[in-house]
Point group: D2
């Protein structure tokens, strides 16, 4: 932690006097604001599969009152033999769903050579967990002049995470939102897919001025945990959530972690009503 001022000077409170105290940088993604007065909720399907599927989910997301639409056109998968997303077609679908609903679109980019393409369609570029330390991608994304959602690597400490964000910031782009999505630890896989590490939220907020949100879907991997995890994240100071939602019809066959529209509605309501700003002045003075 003593190395942080050298690792990430562009992003720390202590090296940026305008962010002394507990002010968070507001990151605007069209109508959605991260780090603003209330938590922001991104929701949508795991992968974009078709226009109908995506629009159905997007409308449910809009109706639930969420702030932005997520969906994967390019999917990072453990095996090359797994479904890799529908690519460019998926970007077109996301754009159309966004136009229909007015929701800004967040989608992942994995390939430096596709950053420009994805940035044409997306309102916010997501860098996934597996690419958190893909430095050429971070630099390229930083140059795209779009807000960035930077997920935490599964083995990334706070310093490494902020170091990665600094690669984006170095390109003149401070519109970065950090996203905790679960880490690998010994219990991973016993009763949840990853270990959701909420302690990092106040630690980040006390050290950096960037907004930080939580992915309760991947960090638990269990649909019934997503709602309590969402509430917990918000109470721990998270500036928002990114959640996987599935159409009624496909639930069960789909990812074990996707929730339905009713659950999303309750989460959004909670996000609006119950958020308590966290005092971060002294947090994580030391561990």
């Amino acid at each position: 932690m003593e190395d942080l001022p050298r690792i990430a000077p562009l992003l720390l409170r202590q090296t940026n006097p305008e962010y002394r105290g507990d002010r968070t940088r507001a990151v605007q993604v069209r109508g959605a604001c991260f780090g603003g007065e209330r938590p922001t909720v991104i929701a949508g399907p795991c992968a974009v599969e078709s226009y109908e599927q995506t629009l159905t989910v997007a409308r449910a997301v809009q109706k639930a009152g969420a702030d932005a639409l997520r969906g994967g056109a390019y999917k990072p998968r453990t095996s090359p033999h797994d479904f890799q997303g529908i690519g460019l077609e998926g970007l077109h679908i996301l754009r159309a769903a966004s136009d229909e609903t007015g929701l800004p679109v967040v989608t992942e980019v994995m390939d430096t050579r596709l950053v420009e393409q994805v940035a044409e369609f997306a309102d916010m570029l997501q860098v996934g967990s597996r690419n958190m330390q893909n430095y050429p991608l971070l630099a390229e994304v930083g140059r795209a002049h779009k807000p960035v959602l930077l997920k935490r690597g599964m083995a990334a400490g706070l310093c490494e995470w902020l170091g990665s964000a600094e690669y984006i910031a170095q390109q003149g782009n401070l519109n970065i939102v950090l996203c905790e999505r679960g880490i690998k630890a010994f219990p991973s896989g016993e009763y949840s897919r990853y270990v959701l590490d909420l302690n990092v939220i106040p630690a980040l907020r006390s050290l950096s001025f960037l907004p930080v949100i939580v992915d309760p879907s991947h960090s638990t991997g269990v649909a019934s945990m997503v709602e309590p995890a969402s509430r917990a994240a918000l109470e721990f100071g998270s500036h928002g959530l990114i959640i996987e939602v599935a159409e009624e019809a496909e639930r069960g066959c789909d990812a074990a972690q996707a929730i339905d529209a009713q659950t999303l509605l309750r989460i959004v309501k909670f996000a609006r009503a119950h958020w308590t700003p966290v005092e971060v002045h002294e947090a994580a003075a030391r561990a």
Copy 2:
């Protein structure tokens, strides 16, 4: 997880038809009830140091509306050269503070040979993280006919934890409350002392009928994180909290994780007002 019915048959919903669904066993500790209609808050000093210190904190705990008093008479410490607690004298002080305030007392016992002694003074016996797999101690504590608070080992999976609880249950004592207190993982020590693992809460609640609480003090090790961690734990379905509180005067010199009475008051208020029961029917069907 498929081994659980063999490991902990006395404690699972699936092997105890009277606990099918989401009913939690209520564990009564004099006036305090774990697993009842509202969350239970245990609070008190890390170690019992003197009658004055303990009574001052106990009165603050009582005034804040908490349900039980904690305090260590026997302290497990990494080094034998560290302060080990004041032992029997501490038990007398806890008893006196309990009599003064009406709060039931929770205190740790580490030695099989002292279980009887500690049980004379305590209303609830705590088995600490380091002794979670000290099976003779678990059996002895099970025979003491007092409610037991069983903390999770720093490297214990859910099966190992319930297996340890089963040692207590086997002695005919089902009055067990489980307590998540942080696990060891790669970020431990970078920005918080341990990694608070809240995913385990709904997983435990869906599998076992025992109440489960959270220790936000040890799992973070950072005073300013205790309040948000407490709220998060309750939103994630925790049946209660156990929190370290320090006298005004000694804060700073004392443990970095102890909170003051005002913070405790806010946490208790939150616990009373905001608790949302978690539907656990389907939680953690699989990870």
Copy 3:
């Protein structure tokens, strides 16, 4: 690590001038010497089940040229419904097998109240991984005036481990042998039971004068890994090994990690022939 001189002053090179440099304390267990000129091999069955089984294995251990016999009379098990060992009868059997073969006996004690009993039969008292921070047991074992084998806790750092050894040392007993037996980390359970952490061997040797050995059986949990793990441990500077061996007949039904007598013979031969003393002067100056 900067706290070590406070945590474990009795066991460090820097606070004990007679152990400056790379001299290791020799711990004598009847005919076996840990920390001496060559590695020491302890071998035997997981649990003592009968006189015949134990003697058969003990003779194979003796014939293989190993230095000491291991075997559990009291077995720590995740569930109280699992086989817990045959207790006192097992101690009698171990003693008899020792008398027959001349091999000193190493066996685990878990209960403070049984230390005296176990010490009557055993030549070396083992404190298991789950009890590494059972401080009353450590103190009791320290008072028994027998050499102690202290296994590492599954989540214990180097400081915590040496802190636990210091509890034994504080009772005037410096005849302590440390034993690495695998830690809990994210890969545990995927392809091996635990993660064997050999980096800790030179780190311990540079900081403390205690001998340190490795358990290749529990740290891998896979019989076919035991032999390469044994060789690796010795090459990394381990002063010895503790290995589970099974009778021909029961292999397969028995623990997946037990090796046969032929494999043990090869390991012992390797231990005698190939051991290269490690220069530890500067090791682990810092990580």
Copy 4:
């Protein structure tokens, strides 16, 4: 593990009958052969800094009898403000040092757009730990028709690692060498930089026919541990090593983990003399 045949069918023994038993695929990198009759040693500086420095180290590497030269022209660093390597100039230097010494060159490529460039200069392309799940890079590297050294991600399980290798294999390139380089776990940073996980070696060898080597420099982060870690890796079945070596003059100011030429000489001698082939038929049948 039951998913492996779906995840990495091109790389498993069970799905490739020509690799049943314990035959390893030999990966030839000019004069060096991985998975052949004896272990292969790659050595060289952490980063290429100048022609003089690189040639000096390369000659020491050659003189020590090592098989290939390593050196970073593009360096992945936690912070963008840290030294990032000298890029193309470094590639020219490596090529020249290779021409001088006859040693094949292994160097890291991080950017899909630079694969072609790096492949012009390098004999083997290294994909680093942080890019293990950078799938576009893996595919691009697979198409470059050069042997690939695929380092394990710091949080990668065996299935994820082989899944990443499968991305390379899918491009028709089976000339892949896997490299264990330490994982993140709770002890990381206490006494060594990472936890060296050698259990994965026999597990990989029993499941896949790819050669697997070990990086004792990064997995320990401590110069004095590199030699014992190297011997241990070879005894555990590693097909080779990749080691950081520094010029005499810069040792101390340089990375804490670089060894000198004399130590490298001893390691190479050990690699040639002491290697014992591991029987992998039954290894890691299950954990």
